[in-house]
């Protein structure tokens, strides 16, 4: 797994693991819109689309949210996935 070097408030460098997020937006994203989220994997869930991906930090997450805003997409839910069998499965796809 790739580790990211981050500075905490004391100015001490420490390793930081990327976090797994899943973001649900309304509607199915077509090829054009998906090009906006190259770091995420998409799955259709009912009438929605769930984007899942490992994001290095909160700035990356806000970058994704800004992109969602720029495309006028409707944001339904954001979750940080904790390590469990299902997400471990997804994690593996990013790290392999």
């Amino acid at each position: 797994m790739r580790l990211h070097q981050l500075l905490n408030e004391d100015g001490v460098v420490r390793s930081h693991e990327p976090k797994l997020y899943s973001i649900r937006v309304k509607g199915h994203l077509g090829a054009t819109c998906l090009a906006a989220f190259p770091e995420m994997v998409s799955q259709q869930r009912g009438a929605d689309c769930v984007l899942t991906g490992l994001l290095p930090d909160r700035s990356a997450l806000f970058g994704i949210l800004t992109q969602i805003e720029a495309l006028g997409l409707e944001l339904i839910e954001i979750r940080r996935l904790l390590p469990n069998p299902e997400s471990a499965e997804i994690s593996k796809r990013f790290t392999s």
């Binding site: 937006v25 309304k26 509607g27 199915h28 994203l29 077509g30 090829a31 054009t32 819109c33 998906l34 090009a35 906006a36 259709q44 009438a47 689309c49 805003e69 720029a70 495309l71 006028g72 997409l73 409707e74």
Partner: protein, 856 residues
């Protein structure tokens, strides 16, 4: 981009009467916030609403987008308020100053005024603070409308609480069924009622979706089926409709749309180049006429841009379909912009193409033009866009760094970067080297001028061989360094040449700086010429709205200093306050030293010696930030020592004197200070010994005022030695030297009041001057000013009443406050008016303030 209200949208976008009346009502309040997601039709609503206004309201429509930097936004806004009158950027931009200028402009009119700002979500946090200030302080006849994609944190709770904020949100903007029908019909599309309803429901009344759908429907042979298929899809509305719309376009139009999506703005020529086609001009005009998310930016309809959401979608599609072509497109765009002199866009596209080499050279090459035209913020953002590794590989970028650091007062870093730039000069291609060398030389001069470093000047003077902006910058920097290092005649000559050249080449910014500094440099010749240059500098600055910029500080200080020398402290203080406001601390030590010296002088004139000491000590401290000796350094130390002595801090003063290094210790300014110590210590003979070299003219002072000071100190010494003939002789010399330029301030500085009163009137040829000086030293305004006599005549009770005049208390209120009858107050007020020569309460307050009987 600011669109003035005279412009009419060419194709009639549908008038949404329902929303117009909502907006009409909303702008009754001071602020209207339109907050809704991308593509909701905010911009279109604002534009059509403005077009439909029929009353006498003036409207300015601007956007936080499409501006190179914050300064460009403010200048555009200001230009629009001034009905197109040009505004010119400055290298020392301050948003706070711009807010004041905008407010001042708004206050000039009494007509109802609306400022509409689109894309307000694009403002950086800091910029938003200034927008909030503007809103909070809008005059009563002005309104603001802000459109943004998300709620803004403006901090205008007060306005909200007082019901001054109206809001229009996404639900208000949604197209109703009937509006949907109207929109379709305006594009010539006729659908069944059922299909219109389906379309409205499927898009949820989202404007961008409906307009995208209309583009496809207009060319579709079976619109009902189109709607049915669309409503059966789960695809995101914009995504689905964009794909459908593109599919229905001819191939060359598709290519044009996709390739130009890399551009913020484009014209037909550029579009032809990127899309490898011809005839883009008619396509673009057709697209705009069809309302296909293309907007022209000028009256001639030569420049265009896309609606933001639409451009975003096209860019994504380009990235998806032909990712490997994008760099090439940016490269072509960069070349096109560079060939036509659009430096900033050329650099941005070179960077986007990953052509770091050309981006770095372009930026270095254009650095001075960008600096002089006030693009500091943009330069910084362009520099930041280079990855760290690239910046290390391209040492010429150190030159750019150095320029920005110098302006921010980070002198050591700037010097280090210049060394790097110089070391690496050889690695540049031959055709760039000459200009690069001149660039380094000018930046070294610029650094030297802020550090008062003379020795580096001579070696850099070779850059005078260049021409245009570079030569003007060189002359300016050289002249200023010479000025601060005391070579005033050379400074005078170079600054004059610099002023002339900058006027010739149309560089008003440099022109103001040269004139502003000439004020100080020509002081040796005469105060009149110093004032003249300074006034011209301030006047010119005013014309461009720069009157509060740092560049006028030297001029303001000259205008403050000359009346203070003549004992007119009221005028002096007024200019000084302006200079203090305009000064940006820690960016220009030589100017800051002058600022503290003039402030100290004013305090001395007002007999506030402790405050004066603080200022003189600050002035002296500035020397430690400079590499060469400032022409006024000895003066700052000298007056700091003398002030200490006069405050009775004799040990302190002696300590400071002993610490002055030897060559400087012989300076007449320091000798005067040594004499001042001896006088305060009761050693008049020792004082005269300290003054001998100065009085015998063995050392050349920078100005007569040093000699006036010496003669006055000598006169004081002779008075104590009871040597009347010598005392009279010294005083006469002092008065004689002082007469021409009205150098009255040294009499205050040397505590010469007592000795002046000992001079028999019949023994002086300067009796009038003598009387005036005594008045000034007694805290009165200069003679000849009728106000001075009135000041002393206000009785204690009258003064007590006077204090209430600036308040809004009525006469009976004042009577209650003072426990006296209204009649008594009336009598006092009448007397105050007549003594101050005032006809009204306002006038009395004004006069009293001039006389310092009242504070501000």
């Amino acid at each position: 981009m600011v669109v003035d209200t005279g412009r009419r949208t060419l194709v009639r976008l549908i008038d949404r009467e329902r929303l117009f009346s909502t907006l009409d009502q909303a702008v009754e309040k001071r602020v209207t916030l339109i907050s809704a997601p991308a593509g909701s039709g905010k911009t279109t609503l604002l534009r059509t609403w403005i077009d439909h206004l029929r009353d006498n309201r003036r409207v300015v429509f601007t956007s936080a987008r499409n501006h190179e930097d914050e300064q460009a936004f403010w200048l555009d806004l200001l230009a629009a308020l001034r009905a197109g009158e040009a505004t010119v950027p400055t290298p020392t931009f301050s948003s706070a100053v711009m807010v004041e200028r905008v407010l001042a402009q708004l206050n000039e009119h009494r007509d109802p005024f609306v400022i509409a700002i689109d894309d307000a979500h694009e403002f950086a946090r800091d910029a938003l603070v200034h927008i909030a200030t503007l809103i909070a302080r809008l005059p009563a006849h002005a309104r603001a409308v802000l459109a943004s994609r998300h709620d803004l944190r403006l901090g205008i709770h007060q306005l909200r609480l007082s019901g001054e904020v109206a809001e229009i949100r996404a639900t208000n903007l949604e197209f109703t069924e009937s509006e949907t029908r109207e929109l379709l019909e305006s594009s010539g599309i006729v659908l069944s009622g059922e299909a219109v309803r389906t379309l409205q429901q499927r898009t949820e009344g989202w404007a961008a979706g409906l307009r995208l759908a209309a583009l496809s429907l207009a060319v579709d042979s079976d619109p009902e089926t189109f709607v049915a298929q669309f409503s059966g899809s789960n695809r995101v509305v914009a995504d689905y409709l964009l794909a459908e719309m593109l599919e229905r376009q001819p191939e060359h139009v598709q290519r044009l749309l996709l390739t130009t999506s890399i551009l913020e703005r484009f014209n037909a020529d550029l579009a032809d180049l990127l899309a490898e086609t011809s005839g883009s001009d008619s396509i673009l005009l057709d697209l705009e006429d069809a309302n296909a998310f293309v907007v022209s930016l000028d009256r001639q309809r030569s420049w265009f841009r896309y609606h933001h959401l639409f451009r975003e979608l096209l860019r994504l599609e380009l990235r998806r379909s032909t990712p490997d072509r994008i760099a090439e497109l940016h490269r072509r765009a960069a070349g096109w912009f560079a060939d036509r002199g659009y430096a900033i866009e050329a650099i941005r596209h070179s960077q986007a193409a990953g052509d770091w080499q050309s981006a770095a050279w372009l930026l270095t090459d254009q650095l001075f033009d960008l600096l002089v035209s006030g693009h500091n913020e943009t330069i910084a953002s362009l520099l930041e866009a280079f990855p760290r590794a690239v910046r290390i590989d391209h040492p010429e970028l150190a030159l750019v760094d150095a320029a920005l650091e110098t302006q921010q007062g980070r002198f050591e870093e700037a010097a280090r970067d210049l060394d790097v730039a110089q070391r690496e000069a050889k690695t540049l291609p031959a055709n760039l080297q000459a200009g690069y060398g001149v660039g380094i030389a000018i930046l070294r001069l610029g650094l030297a001028r802020r550090q008062g470093q003379l020795d580096s000047v001579i070696e850099q003077a070779n850059c005078l061989g260049s021409c245009g902006v570079l030569r003007a910058m060189a002359l300016m920097n050289l002249g200023i360094v010479e000025m601060w290092s005391g070579r005033l005649a050379d400074a005078d000559r170079h600054l004059r040449d610099g002023a002339e050249l900058s006027q010739e080449i149309g560089a008003p910014y440099l022109h103001v700086i040269c004139l502003s500094s000439l004020g100080f440099a020509s002081k040796v010749r005469s105060f009149a010429s110093a004032r003249d240059h300074s006034e011209r500098a301030v006047e010119l600055a005013q014309r461009y709205g720069w009157e509060n910029e740092t560049i006028v500080v030297p001029a303001l200080l000259t205008l403050a200093g000359t009346p203070i020398w003549a004992g007119d402290f009221i005028t002096g203080e007024r200019w000084l306050e302006r200079a203090q406001k305009a000064m940006k601390p820690d960016t220009n030590p030589p100017e800051e030293m002058l600022l503290h010296i003039v402030s100290g002088m004013l305090h001395v004139g007002r007999n506030r010696l402790r405050d004066a000491l603080t200022e003189f000590s600050e002035a002296e401290r500035m020397q430690s930030r400079m590499l060469g000796e400032h022409v006024l350094a000895a003066q700052a130390i000298g007056w700091a020592i003398s002030t200490k002595a006069r405050l009775g801090l004799l040990d302190d003063a002696r300590g400071m004197l002993a610490a002055v290094p030897s060559p400087r210790a012989a300076a007449p300014e320091i000798r005067n200070a040594a004499a001042a110590i001896e006088l305060e210590a009761g050693e008049p003979a020792a004082a005269l010994a300290e003054l001998r070299d100065v009085l015998d003219a063995h050392t050349a002072p920078i100005h007569d005022f040093v000699l006036v000071e010496a003669q006055l100190l000598a006169a004081r010494a002779y008075l104590e030695l009871e040597n009347e003939p010598e005392m009279i002789s010294s005083l006469e010399k002092a008065l004689g030297l002082a007469e021409r330029e009205r150098l009255l301030w040294p009499f205050a500085m040397t505590g010469a009041r007592d000795v002046l009163t000992k001079l028999p009137r019949h023994k002086t040829a300067h009796a009038a001057l003598l009387l005036e000086i005594v008045d000034i030293l007694d805290g009165l305004s200069p003679r000849g000013n009728a106000l001075s006599t009135a000041a002393g005549e206000l009785s204690a009770t009258e003064l007590r009443v006077l204090r209430y005049l600036p308040t809004n208390l009525s006469r009976s209120d004042i009577a209650r406050e003072l426990y006296v009858s209204v009649n008594t107050v009336n009598t006092h007020v009448r007397n105050i008016y007549s003594k101050l020569g005032a006809a009204s309460r306002t006038e009395a307050v004004e006069r009293a303030r001039q006389l310092r009987l009242l504070g501000h």
